[in-house]
């Protein structure tokens, strides 16, 4: 995912013209070296996490802390006529009630997710609590601050708000659909070749409509913010994926210099993109703390998570594929529609259709419709995840039409250059992933026809789908401190999303600096370390590795300077290696770090490292790739689907920390199983209210829903990236839903083109395209 402003998008287009003249990525010698990289090590933060040793935002309880609860609107659109706070104010323990009438002014910021603003993390440009307008059902219309959480919750229910409702747009329809100025990643409309001719000349065509519902991240940790003002200095603990962005956003909203805003978020309990933008409660907590004159903490309840933070927009994809009789694609048409809000963040379902297959004609068109709902958000594999359900289901349909094995069909359409831009790939080993996965799964044993295998009441089937996700290298800086005892501390403004970043970076840094892992401390989540723009996008591993690489080079220069007169005298940086806990030439001349610092009489050496500008991602097409192989059992009487076996094989470049990487892929696959079979956010189109606002009704997979998952990696370094690695945080979920739908087809002979595939879906006779249930 590339996080760009409109200006940057234009710049990218200009750069595209000169792309071939840009430099390639610097070759990283570590990408092929063995050592700590590639070792199966346990997660460093694991013991602390399972023993309660990690303090998350909500765990902080400073002196004089007050608790805040936001009041959700009950209409989708209109005006607040009056807010009656009297009863709330007289309830036990209430400190204050903040409404649009007494909230401090907060400057409007560009909405992060819309890409209109290159900086900051605000989720939306709307002036929440600085306006009497209501934009969605569930919008915060007041904030109650009290001495305890329970008192604040109770008093929040006593705030009486009178509204003047207006008609709201709540349903997805074609009528008001339009082409947004930009979509996440790329342009909203792309045409290559002549799809009309491509379809007309095709031996076989498939045309179908696929839908995905609104979905939520359902992170285990609830969104939480705690704000403390000390004069004009603001310290905020926040469950954010993007501490530096929150710092910028709050500085702007409250008119403060950047240096006065300090945001801390070392650990979060799951984000999946939902904690990339800062939702209104973040600024409102800061405003409430200002009014209260004491620290204020706000933890969204689970219900408020659905009402006050956004999820993935629903999508509808019309796909047309054409192929010649040998299965070579002649045309790909993908027209996608998604909901958005005034801030126009498009869930670009067309993304996969542009880059997955070689095809002489491709037409991809993203449209949106504005609705009066909470703004939709990034969610693991934005666009590409719902879009791949459409494309990869259609490819399966094409395979059956052609009578060609679905895996074989994909192998026949594997491109050697990007099908849209014609640019080379930094690396792409999807063919290897297909074969690796198929072999591990035993794909060749699959029955050639649907409905061929039965186990009691249950029909058994296998399906597969491809996975693809863009690979981004973003911007980060780290502070590296070498101490006299030879230990190294690396500070970063990124945080541990739960993916194992700190473990992977410790492995990589240990090898980069030539020290054992236990000499390295990798500390994260402090916005003040350095400007760091990694709000997600699976970009932490490579971006941080780039910054640490740069820090290593600076450290070498610094050590050679202070080592004047010693055994390193006169050596150039490229003549020494960082190994054996020090600097040494190839023939063994040199000194350990400890000795170096001791000789120089230094307590420590500190350097800053910045990530390199990722020109290679403009010059070439970047991506991560994979193949899912699924087995399902479908109870024909009840429509229940159980996933019984899974193999995922992935090209994620060099795998830095295999144990963390395997977990990350498994997590993505599990989330994809949820997407395929159960996850759906229900918005009542009469009121705009999200109805299933709780984990009791918003089902995600339990252990019993998860089969053994076999994860394989091609594990070949990308010659263009730091460590030879690629970002795999999001890749695992992409294609999962299609693999399951395709397996259900193989089991039952029934094609389901609408998610989620709940039991009633398969009990409904006839074609299953549009949604007609709930």
């Amino acid at each position: 995912m590339t996080f760009t402003s409109r200006g940057f998008a234009l710049g990218t287009r200009v750069l595209g013209k000169v792309a071939r003249f840009l430099p390639d990525g610097r070759h990283d010698p570590l990408s092929t070296e063995s050592g700590e990289i590639g070792r199966h090590v346990n997660r460093l933060d694991g013991p602390a996490k399972v023993s309660g040793g990690i303090r998350y935002t909500a765990d902080h309880v400073p002196d004089r802390l007050a608790y805040a609860v936001a009041v959700p609107s009950t209409i989708a659109k209109g005006r607040i006529v009056a807010v009656d706070s009297a009863r709330a104010l007289s309830a036990p323990g209430v400190v204050l009630v903040m409404t649009h009438e007494n909230a401090p002014p907060m400057k409007r910021t560009g909405a992060y997710a819309t890409l209109k603003a290159p900086v900051g993390a605000a989720a939306m440009s709307l002036p929440i609590l600085n306006t009497d307008r209501v934009y969605w059902n569930g919008q915060p219309v007041a904030v109650v601050v009290a001495e305890t959480q329970e008192q604040a919750e109770h008093a929040a229910r006593l705030v009486n708000v009178r509204y003047e409702p207006e008609p709201a747009v709540l349903a997805m329809s074609d009528e008001a659909a339009y082409t947004p100025a930009h979509s996440v990643l790329e342009e909203s409309k792309t045409v290559v070749g002549d799809v009309r001719a491509g379809l007309a000349g095709a031996a076989v065509t498939v045309r179908a409509v696929y839908t995905t519902p609104p979905e939520y991240h359902n992170a285990l940790e609830l969104h939480a913010t705690m704000a403390t003002w000390d004069g004009d200095d603001l310290t905020v603990h926040d469950s954010s994926q993007y501490p530096y962005g929150v710092k910028e956003m709050l500085a702007k909203k409250f008119g403060l210099p950047l240096a006065r805003v300090h945001v801390l978020a070392p650990y979060i309990g799951g984000g999946f993109g939902g904690k990339t933008p800062a939702w209104p409660h973040v600024a409102l907590t800061v405003a409430a703390a200002k009014l209260a004159g004491r620290p204020v903490k706000l933890v969204l309840s689970r219900a408020h998570t659905y009402w006050m933070t956004g999820g993935r927009a629903p999508t509808r994809s019309r796909i047309a594929l054409g192929a010649d009789e040998r299965g070579r694609l002649t045309a790909i048409v993908h027209d996608a529609l998604a909901t958005c809000t005034t801030d126009e963040f498009a869930e670009a379902a067309i993304a996969a259709s542009r880059h997955l297959y070689a095809c002489p004609s491709i037409a991809a068109h993203q449209r949106v419709i504005r609705v009066d709902q909470i703004q939709n958000a990034f969610f693991r594999g934005p666009g590409v995840t719902p879009g791949s359900f459409a494309l990869e289901s259609a490819m399966d349909e094409l395979a059956w039409e052609l009578g060609i094995d679905p895996l074989e069909l994909r192998l026949r359409n594997e491109p050697d250059r990007d099908p849209i831009s014609g640019r080379p790939f930094t690396s792409r080993h999807l063919r290897e992933a297909y074969l690796l996965g198929a072999d591990a799964f035993g794909w060749q044993d699959r029955a050639p026809l649907p409905r061929a295998t039965r186990d009691g009441h249950r029909l058994v089937g296998q399906g597969m789908a491809a996975a693809i996700n863009p690979d981004a290298v973003l911007i980060a800086a780290v502070r590296l401190r070498l101490s006299a005892d030879g230990t190294i501390t690396i500070h970063s403004s990124t945080n541990e999303l739960g993916a194992g970043t700190s473990t992977a970076q410790t492995q990589a840094a240990a090898q980069r600096l030539g020290v054992p892992m236990d000499r390295i401390r990798f500390l994260q989540g402090d916005s003040d370390v350095a400007k760091t723009r990694i709000p997600g996008a699976s970009a932490a591993t490579t971006t941080l590795a780039s910054a640490i690489w740069n820090a290593r080079d600076r450290l070498v220069r610094e050590l050679l300077t202070i080592g004047e007169g010693g055994p390193l005298a006169g050596l150039r940086p490229d003549e020494v290696e960082t190994r054996d806990e020090g600097l040494f030439t190839r023939d063994g001349r040199g000194q350990t770090y400890r000795r170096l610092l001791e000789r120089a009489g230094r307590d420590h050496v500190e350097v800053t490292g910045k990530s390199a500008v990722p020109y290679q991602t403009v010059k070439r097409t970047t991506g991560t790739y994979g193949a899912h192989f699924a087995e399902v059992q479908v109870d024909e009487d009840t429509g229940e689907v159980r996933v019984t076996r899974w193999t995922g094989a992935f090209d994620g470049g060099r795998i830095v920390s295999p144990k963390q990487a395997i977990s990350q892929m498994r997590g993505g696959i599990i989330q994809g199983i949820g997407m395929a079979l159960m996850e759906e956010t229900l918005l009542d189109e009469r009121s705009g209210r999200i109805v299933n606002a709780g984990l009791a009704d918003q089902h995600i997979p339990t252990h019993a829903d998860v089969p053994p998952i076999d994860v394989r990696f091609v594990d070949r370094p990308d010659p263009q990236t730091p460590l030879g690695a690629k970002g795999i945080g999001e890749l695992g979920i992409v294609g999962v839903a299609a693999a399951i739908a395709n397996a259900i087809y193989h089991a039952t002979g029934r094609r389901v083109r609408a998610l989620p595939i709940t039991p009633d879906t398969l009990l409904t006779p006839g074609a299953i395209d549009g949604r007609s249930r709930h």
Binding site: P72, S687, A693
Partner: protein, 323 residues
Amino acid sequence: MREYAYVRANDVAEAIGLASEGPVAYLAGGTNLFDLMREEVERPERVVDISRLPLSAIEELPDGGLRLGALARNAHVAADDRVRRRYPVLARALLNGASPQLRNRATVGGNLLQRTRCRYFYDLGAACNKRTPGAGCDAIGGFDRGHAILGASESCVAVHPSDMCVALAALDATVNLTGPDGDRNVPVSDFHLLPGETPQVETALRKGELVTSVDLPPWPPVRGAYVKVRDRASYAFALVSVAVLLQVEGGRIAVARIALGGVAHKPWRAYGAEELLTGAAADEPVFGAAAAEAVAEARPLRHNAFKTELARRLIRRTLGELS
């Protein structure tokens, strides 16, 4: 959450005395009550903690039946040897409910009295006759996929969420009560009520009355099954569930009990189907006819027509498997 007074009862009489007036709730496992209190759907001013009362035993009855103490934990009942041997349908139903953590907390009495999971009931921003009589029902015309197909009214289409109660209904269990006016017992099938015009009245329980135990009558050796269809493999309420007891003698059906879950405001006994089965030949056409009879009165809503078909298929298949 509103402030409330917490009092612990030392014996049953004291509990009843403490609960005889005002907005009061008994607290046993608390797994449903506290959720509802936090949402302010339940607003007791006094909570009477009965969790330490000596009502958790599982005891033999003189007639060969079994008595389940109201405070017996769901997990204990499901694991009890006598229950597993003599009433396997109940053990299966309990194990199909909630999660291990909840089953460790939840009690027999609390399970009987748990309230519907209708989301409109939970959301104070929505209209609900059960929560505020006369306010209207937002579930009607809304997301009604999980709602009732049998016995619903214009006032309420909510369903009773329990698995345990479906098995108890099939087993002809009896609920033992004590209260200000003394002891009495109510068959479990009469304990829960249909919504009618008063969906806020959910059970036959009178003010201050306390469930003390549930009696399982002695059963001849019958075959039984509890089958539950839900949106995921575990930890989800039933879309439709069915408890079936069947005894076949010489090719004829001697005993048949069918209760459905997830389809009505109460565990739904399919009396018509039972009648049709009793004395009939144990074969597929009879099972099909009984299954059809069980849902003959179904009145599906906008999004739950599948429940009728699902209930029919589950009953037919389960009968076939037990015969």
